[in-house]
Amino acid sequence: MKPGLKHFFDSMGAYFARPGAQSLDALYSEHPGWDAPRGRVSVYGDFVRGHVRGVLEKIFPLVRKVVGAEAWDALVEGYTLTRPARHHELNHLAEGFPAFVADAAPSRGLAAFVPALARFEWTDFAVFASEAPPERVERLTANPTLAVLEHPYRLCAYVRAQGALPEPEAGEELALLWRHPEHLVTYYVEATPPALLVLKMAVEGLAVADVAAATGMPEAELRGAVERFTRDGLVLAPGGSGD
């Protein structure tokens, strides 16, 4: 690459790292005689910053609502300065936001559950967009998009209420999130003993009769649980969801 072109990219890179009036001045000082209207050049800085904000506001609506406008703007601003877009797919830039929120929460006085909520919202999206292919299975199989989150809040109920609750109840929760194989949307539930048992059967290839004998559960009840969680897509069965 010719030095002049490299200089152009270097100067634009410095501007886009922190778009604003000061960096725009610095950009123009690198190119004496450049007569492009400043407002036209700053359009690009606004676009680049706007893409980060747009993705965060799409993926983290509850975090945004909970923390309030001022704290949200500060989080977005701080995160944007980390230059998070390292992947060609736009939404991937949000992947590091939960960790950023976790680091920032104490100093910014955010409610203690906000980092867990951010992780939940990102996982919701990541499960929805998972590259795990739809599978035809030979035997009972755990949904390949399944993600498991553990946190000291009842987040499933809180997220289901879509911000109608002031804050989540305290209490240990193992949340299961997966993409339904037919509806292709994210399902999430607090893990219950029957759900975990059916997942164990799927992962370890256990037969209903053997599990019934080992646990003392009625076989019909166990079959009912398998059918229910198959319909919900938590596990995949050879016959499909039966929808």
Partner: protein, 282 residues
């Protein structure tokens, strides 16, 4: 008579298409309205599974699918993203696209995706930089490739070439096709004070394989290429001017903001199809 780029690559005019956007995922694969082909933004399908993939498969069963990227970064200083190009090649093969396209711009600096179509300076150095990258992409993907003339709101510093000459040098030296975005020509002409028809006349029109049509948004100091409205009368008129010089070429209605109903976008595609038919009948 010199063969056009399309003729050299056996590319036939495809008619009028629309973009596969998220709001159409349920409805588009089932539409009974006339539609000749579908354009996709490959970045939405390269690493996202689930609903996008199912919709893409359903569309590919019915229509030709043309990937039109926004993340290739053909003009940027970083090396081409190998993972991206490999995934793009796989996608192009999977939908059996007759050709694929991206923009003559840069979109990544220092490993950071800026997720925008950023203008290059119109210089010989930029031509020299872009041409081998285009050739590399064509070699790695193995299908005909088109570059789109992007909209831009400010001329970048150091420019030495007229915009049309810059485009011509790149596509001719790289031997790729041209995706002529007529709305971009119109927007650029107004924003930079030049004559849109004269600009079209200066382009290597024998390389035009596809046309984009879209709406834009007028602000006091600038017109932004928002893809957020109907195609305006002036752009339809300029499209007609282009078709009279290129003959029928695959034409896309782009609508990416304030996306209306599928029916409204298909109505616009019908208008383009009628224009294509009229030109073909001459």
């Amino acid at each position: 008579m010199v063969a056009t780029y399309a003729q050299r690559h056996g590319l036939k005019p495809l008619g009028a298409g629309i973009g596969l956007r998220r709001s159409f995922y349920e409805e588009l694969p089932r539409t009974e309205r006339p539609l000749d082909w579908v354009e996709i933004i490959p970045e939405n399908f390269l690493s996202l599974g689930g609903r996008p993939q199912r919709t893409l498969d359903a569309c590919a069963e019915r229509w030709p699918v043309l990937p039109h990227g926004v993340g290739l970064d053909i003009g940027g200083p970083d090396a081409l993203d190998g993972d991206y190009v490999n995934r793009l090649a796989a996608l192009v093969a999977r939908v059996d696209a007759p050709f694929f396209s991206d923009h003559l711009c840069y979109s990544r600096l220092d490993g950071v995706y800026l997720h925008d179509l950023l203008p290059l300076p119109f210089t010989e150095a930029a031509v020299e930089h872009v041409v081998p990258r285009v050739r590399e992409v064509i070699a790695r993907v193995g299908r005909p490739f088109l570059l789109e003339n992007p909209s831009y709101y400010a001329r970048m510093p150091g420019g030495t070439l007229p915009e049309a000459d810059f485009l011509r040098h790149v596509v001719e030296e790289a031997d790729c096709g041209l995706l002529l975005d007529v709305n971009n020509v119109y927007v650029n002409a107004l924003n930079h004070g030049y004559d849109a028809r004269a600009f079209v006349d200066a382009l290597p029109l024998e390389r035009v394989v596809q046309v984009h049509l879209a709406g834009h948004t007028r602000y006091p100091d600038v017109i932004i290429d928002t893809h957020g409205d109907r195609v305006c009368d002036d752009v339809w008129s300029l499209y007609q001017y282009v078709l009279e010089r290129t003959g029928p070429v695959a034409t896309l209605i782009e609508w990416d903001q304030d996306i209306p109903s599928l029916e409204a976008v298909l109505d616009e595609a019908d208008v383009a199809r009628a224009a294509l038919r009229k030109v073909a009948e001459r």
